[in-house]
Symmetry: C2
Amino acid sequence: MFWCGLNKGKHSVCIDFTTAEGHELAMALITAPGPDAGMLLTNYAPRGWLSHEALRARRPDLIQLTIQGKRDGASAVDYTINPAVGIPFLTGPREAEGPVNHVLPAWDLLTGQMAATGLLAAERHRRRTGEGQHIKLALEDVALATLGNLGFIAEAERGGVRERIGNSLYGAFGGDFQCQDARLMIVALTLKQWTALCTALDLDAAVAELSRESGLDLSREGNRFRAREEIAALVRTRVVTRSLAELAPLFDRAGVCWSRYQTIAELVAHDPACSTANPLFAVTEQPGVGNILAPASPLDFAAGGRLPPIPAPCLGEDTDHVLRTLLGLSDAAIGDLRTRAIIAGPAKDP
Amino acid sequence: MFWCGLNKGKHSVCIDFTTAEGHELAMALITAPGPDAGMLLTNYAPRGWLSHEALRARRPDLIQLTIQGKRDGASAVDYTINPAVGIPFLTGPREAEGPVNHVLPAWDLLTGQMAATGLLAAERHRRRTGEGQHIKLALEDVALATLGNLGFIAEAERGGVRERIGNSLYGAFGGDFQCQDARLMIVALTLKQWTALCTALDLDAAVAELSRESGLDLSREGNRFRAREEIAALVRTRVVTRSLAELAPLFDRAGVCWSRYQTIAELVAHDPACSTANPLFAVTEQPGVGNILAPASPLDFAAGGRLPPIPAPCLGEDTDHVLRTLLGLSDAAIGDLRTRAIIAGPAKDP
């Protein structure tokens, strides 16, 4: 499922990289001519026949983006980067003793998106100057840069130690609340969201009293963070006795920023957002798997409309087609390469 | 710190949006001519003077990218999206009872990167066709699409229920190990990483025996996941009695994929990766804050070299400069706008 999800809409070509002829074919594909070609995204080390120098000798304006684990090329994955940047000591229940890793491969996802941005930026540069280039992007540096961008590094440099605060929001008001039949996340980050929450739960008088007692102006987000326990107590008593059916319209009418905790199974079974009622999704038929509710890109471009999701290919499904159209190989040449097992596919099992 | 980190290298212009003249100025900036202008990235609702129609009337090829919380425009933040997509029930210790939110705002980060990709893609389209467009990107859809891309939705559709597995890696071998003086994350996702681990810890004989007993071919990642408890027991006894100083060179020589758990304070104080020894970082002087170790982009472009990080501006620091250079306003006109408080800045306090 993981494989199918990540390889939607790709073309797959199978080439034997242990042979010199295989290298030749791959290099020819990578350095094919034209403004829409000559871009390589890879996590192979840029060495030997895949070195930027070797490839650039065939196409001087080649754009090559190499994704690395560590900056020095050493092996690293999302699950080893995250422990090293401290986030697991902030994640998890207040009383947790050890580190808590995230399950979402956030660093991988972010690195993939940055790679797309990097390729487009390099293509823009090539169009303007004619110049190609080699771009490196290390998973480790993505994580470190993000820590810096989010202010964690500057905070630690100044001796700030952030505590674990469970599911509460850092820096403003937000947290978990159990109503009669559901667990809710309720957030008041902006002033507008705070006003909406006070309106929906009729909190104004109680909040005014809390402000007086604490001396904190609760229209400021930092003060809402300071008084989060007291605010939570006010919210809790107003939420715990009501049902989701009662609270949801109340919250939505006032514009409260909230959601309901649900499992992935519940999301898939019951939430219209995760169905074809959301134009993001379409049902695709994935060979060997069956029907899958598959997402298109969340980027909803007005020009040209949204491209629907396309199933993942079998390994080598496009070998012949790509060699024919991109490299102009004849059927005889393709047949010969296939006989000698320099190329292959499609394979049934990915 | 958060604010400074996220606003590095930006230009800041202060305009009073409650006035019609303020709207005029902002619209003129948004629709300024030239191929490097005419792009608006915003989380304001595209209504009134900020509607795509109103702006396009001034520049027909305008590119506008609107970031939304929910697809319907309702308020949502990372902290309310995450509970609704089920990840908090997978994150956290096996014995945790409730949901565990991530602390890293992964959906925000991913949405920001996708917005950059979307703008560059739209600029590419505009260059080729002359056509601008309005692009929408909802935080909610980013999360849902990611769940789909990672295979979570297809898995749930087929009745698969993923269990909480604490800090273990899903689908292969990986987890926490305490050595004498440090807590380590050790991963064997690929065959190469698995072979390296077996070599480094002299596991070959024990693994061969485990394979025989369990009937599992442990060179396959799925089988390493099935036998993860047994493999962990083998690793644990070989790690627990040794020091980090002993294990680190052993692991690095063999090419093991591993890291050490450390807090952000430890990272910042002791790890060379989080210092100017890493070309990602430079020390910048942030007015009002002092020296900050700030990251550049993790995208290391060979062409032109890496741009160093630039401190965040004060609010309105560039008001005059931008109005003068982009709109060609005279000093007298700028002075007049300032007197009437249509524009402002720089302000000392962001």
